[in-house]
């Protein structure tokens, strides 16, 4: 028989439990950079990549990274995506499935192997973390396991790359080796199905039974015929059948483990070390204290560590702008370049150190396994809102950026719970707000003032984060009790072993995420800055000003921007801004920031850049601090800064967020509600802060 052409591309799907090093293996295999997490559900979307040349594949192999799941039963969209992809419900099924299992935890990990076995597709087991298993005193005999299961088993250590070459060789030999899982499959299919379902493909029939029993049929895309067949089965019988299927799979796991003489099924050898750490980290007193200290440290360090780097970037941008001005001479194009392009991008770049630090912290929390502990510690509070501890991770990710956070809610089962979390996320203080807070705090608050060991500035920043968090939780509780009423979802959360983060992976992740931010800044913000520069520059001041009419000139020096379109619009809305302590200049910047928050800083830079033509190189914060109102008093006070920051805590000023929410909820209703309600709330809160502050005499 002539073999299939060797050149034919092989599609391999990578499946496995969360926290087994699946994403690490994917990165090693493909040589590409991806997020490696240590928390259930970090990999939400399926990713693809070609096997890297360094492994010398003898044919072209594409690897698809599936979401990490404990089973294929559609409890949330993750499992549904994984099953549909493997079963070939969406596009052609993969030629081969590589299941990554944690060698130190076979008793639970092999459950998924049984479900994959039912699919009847060629399957290879990558026995990952062999080093951990050996250290924990539960070495696994790969050859024996291979015989017990009837499929190839290859030991790997994804962290070091050990065993991957052999795995690639095995993958490339696909089609030349017989795959025999018939024995195991025969036993798994021993549990008979009701007559109505027997005509369906066996794996799909079992999948639908589980979906029907757990009332998640909506995730399966079941056809009308399938639904009819399921409806024909008594509900109690169906639930008993679904349970029997699970029990049968575990019996098969136990059989295989007994056959290879594996011990440590009930013990958690990989957790020995972690349990000792947890004695402190999830302790009722120390655990909570450490949790608070970790969070406080995060905010303090964002300020303290980033400062020197920010200074360097500021100086570089000022130098570049000066060079352009000197080199090109005065003119419209020079203004466009220095005040639009360079100033705009520079105002964003300057915050890169802080954003990178924030991502570094979040990355380390994810990779070490502390994130799951945080969910464990905080679940009681989340449950009070009516949410799962798991919602904590998307919400915390919301501190970095709402876009990945909203995508991360796919791990939350139950559409209503997911929607509640999505509606909460934009309240979390994302990194794009950070530049605004930092600018206003450092411009308007005393940098030297201290309260205890902390500076006043960092405490104001912390207050903004606390306010946003409390507001998000309150909003969640309100949605959960009104529009999106539903019972509190169950918490079934694994506390994975603590692991040292791979520094390279974490740094690459920081780089990727920060580069994402800069890329956004480079496109959206650059475009916005240039457009806004035009809006704020045209129409030009009347000829009389340039001709030097003394009266007009004085007025023009006061604020030439008032002649521009942007200035006119800012003036138009100024009456609405006065109650929250802002003037039309802030109004222009706020209007600009509705495209994306980070635009606020560059717009403000533009506003003041145009105003203070001679002091172009001076940092923006200096300009804000020294700006004087008509009566000679400072134009902005700490109170007006506070009101503006509160506005930014609440306002939904991010077009990308709205677009993602529309995509995830498949309707304009929710993004529209989000935008209108958040903006109204932001205005009300900012006005409230300013008015109450004034009453108190600030």
């Amino acid at each position: 028989m002539s073999a299939a052409p060797v050149a034919a591309e092989l599609r391999v799907a990578l499946a496995g439990n969360p926290n087994v090093g699946k994403t690490s293996l994917f990165n090693e295999l493909t040589g590409s950079r991806h997020k490696v997490g240590n928390y259930a559900g970090v990999t939400v979307e399926t990713r693809e990549g070609a096997v890297a040349a360094r492994w010398q594949p003898t044919r072209s192999v594409t690897v698809v990274d599936l979401p990490g799941t404990y089973s294929l039963t559609p409890v949330s969209e993750d499992e549904a995506v994984a099953f549909r992809c493997l079963h070939g419900d969406e596009g052609p099924p993969p030629d081969l499935i590589v299941l990554v299992v944690d060698a130190a935890n076979l008793a639970r990990n092999l459950y998924l192997a049984m479900q994959l076995c039912e699919l009847g597709r060629p399957l290879v087991l990558a026995l990952n973390m062999m080093d951990v298993a050996a250290e924990a005193g539960v070495p696994v005999d790969a050859a024996a396991l291979s015989r017990a299961l009837g499929l190839p088993v290859l030991p790997t250590v994804a962290r070091t790359g050990e065993g991957i070459a052999a795995l690639v060789q095995e993958i490339c030999r696909f089609g030349q080796v017989p795959w025999d899982m018939a024995e195991v499959r025969g036993r798994l299919f021993g549990t008979p199905l009701p007559a109505g379902l027997a005509a369906l493909p066996p794996a799909r029939a079992r999948w639908l039974v589980a979906a029907q029993a757990s009332e998640t049929l909506g995730l399966t895309g079941a056809t009308a015929e399938e639904r009819a067949a399921l409806a024909g089965v008594d509900a109690g019988e169906l639930r008993a059948l679904a349970a029997a299927l699970v029990i049968g799979r575990y019996a098969e796991v136990d059989r295989a483990l007994a056959q290879i003489g594996h011990r440590g099924g009930e013990r958690a050898p990989a957790m020995d070390h972690s349990a000792r750490i947890d004695r402190v980290l999830t302790h009722r007193v120390w655990g909570l204290l450490i949790f608070l200290v970790v969070m406080a440290l995060l905010f303090q360090s964002i300020f303290a560590w980033a400062e020197p780097l920010m200074g360097v970037i500021e100086a570089a941008i000022a130098w570049l702008s000066g060079q352009v001005k000197a080199g090109l001479g005065p003119g419209l194009f020079t203004d466009l370049l220095s005040e639009g392009v360079i100033a705009g991008v520079g105002n964003v770049l300057v915050f890169v150190p802080q954003i990178a630090l924030l991502f570094l912290f979040i990355g380390l929390l994810e990779d070490t396994g502390y994130m799951a502990r945080a969910a464990f510690l905080i679940d009681r509070l989340m449950a009070r809102v009516g949410l799962h501890g798991k919602a904590f991770v998307p919400l915390l990710s919301g501190f970095a950026c709402a876009i990945p956070a909203i995508l991360g809610t796919r791990t939350i089962s139950g559409f209503r719970d997911r929607l509640v979390t999505i509606m909460m996320i934009p309240f979390m203080s994302c990194s794009a707000r950070l530049p605004v807070y930092v600018l206003l705090i450092s411009a308007l608050f005393d940098g030297e003032a201290r309260v205890g060991p902390f500076t006043q500035a960092s405490l104001v920043l912390l207050a903004m984060y606390v306010l946003s968090t409390v507001s998000a939780l309150a909003v969640g509780a309100i949605y959960k009790r009104t529009l999106l009423r539903s019972p509190t979802p169950a918490l079934v959360l694994e506390l994975p072993p603590y692991r040292l983060p791979r520094v390279r992976n974490t740094l690459l992740q920081v780089y990727d995420r920060t580069a994402d931010f800069v890329r956004d800044a480079g496109t959206v913000i650059l475009a916005m800055t240039v457009v806004l520069w035009a809006l704020l520059s045209f129409p030009r001041p009347p000829e009389a000003v340039r001709a030097g009419d003394p009266v007009e000139l004085v007025a023009a020096l006061e604020s030439p921007i008032e002649h521009s379109l942007g200035g006119q619009f800012g003036k138009l809305i100024e009456p609405a801004l006065t109650p929250m302590g802002q003037d039309f200049r802030m109004g222009v910047a706020i209007v600009g920031s509705f495209a994306a928050r980070e635009v606020f800083v560059s717009t403000l830079g533009l506003v003041y850049g145009i105003e203070a033509d001679d002091e172009d190189n001076q940092p923006l914060r200096q300009a804000l601090r020294e700006a004087k109102a008509a009566d000679g008093r400072p134009r902005y006070s700490p109170l007006s800064g506070l009101a503006l920051m509160v506005f930014f805590v609440y306002a939904c000023q991010c077009m990308s967020t709205l677009a993602v929410v529309r995509r995830e909820t498949r309707s304009w209703r929710w993004p529209l509600l989000m935008f209108v309600s958040m903006t109204a709330l932001a205005y009300a809160m900012a006005v409230g802060v300013f008015q109450v502050g004034r009453l108190l005499g600030y």
């Binding site: 349970a243 099924g265 009930e266 994975p496």
Partner: protein, 63 residues
């Protein structure tokens, strides 16, 4: 403690079964979270956190 069977039915039961709380399995209570809830269990070689309300779905008897 040894798991006997899951009370009730539906999604949560199935989820617990799949996470290893199958009849005959030894389950150990490791600790409670600082606010008293959720609980941390050791089952089939891993540590799983459940709320008290969910854990009550798992009927157990002393080993």
């Amino acid at each position: 403690m040894v798991t006997v069977a899951d009370a009730g039915g539906g999604g949560l039961t199935l989820r617990l079964l799949e996470m290893g709380f199958v009849p005959g399995t030894v389950v150990t209570l490791v600790k409670r979270a600082p606010f008293g809830d959720p609980l941390e269990f050791q089952v089939r070689g891993c540590h799983i956190s459940l709320r008290a309300a969910e854990a009550s779905c798992v009927r157990t008897e002393p080993a």
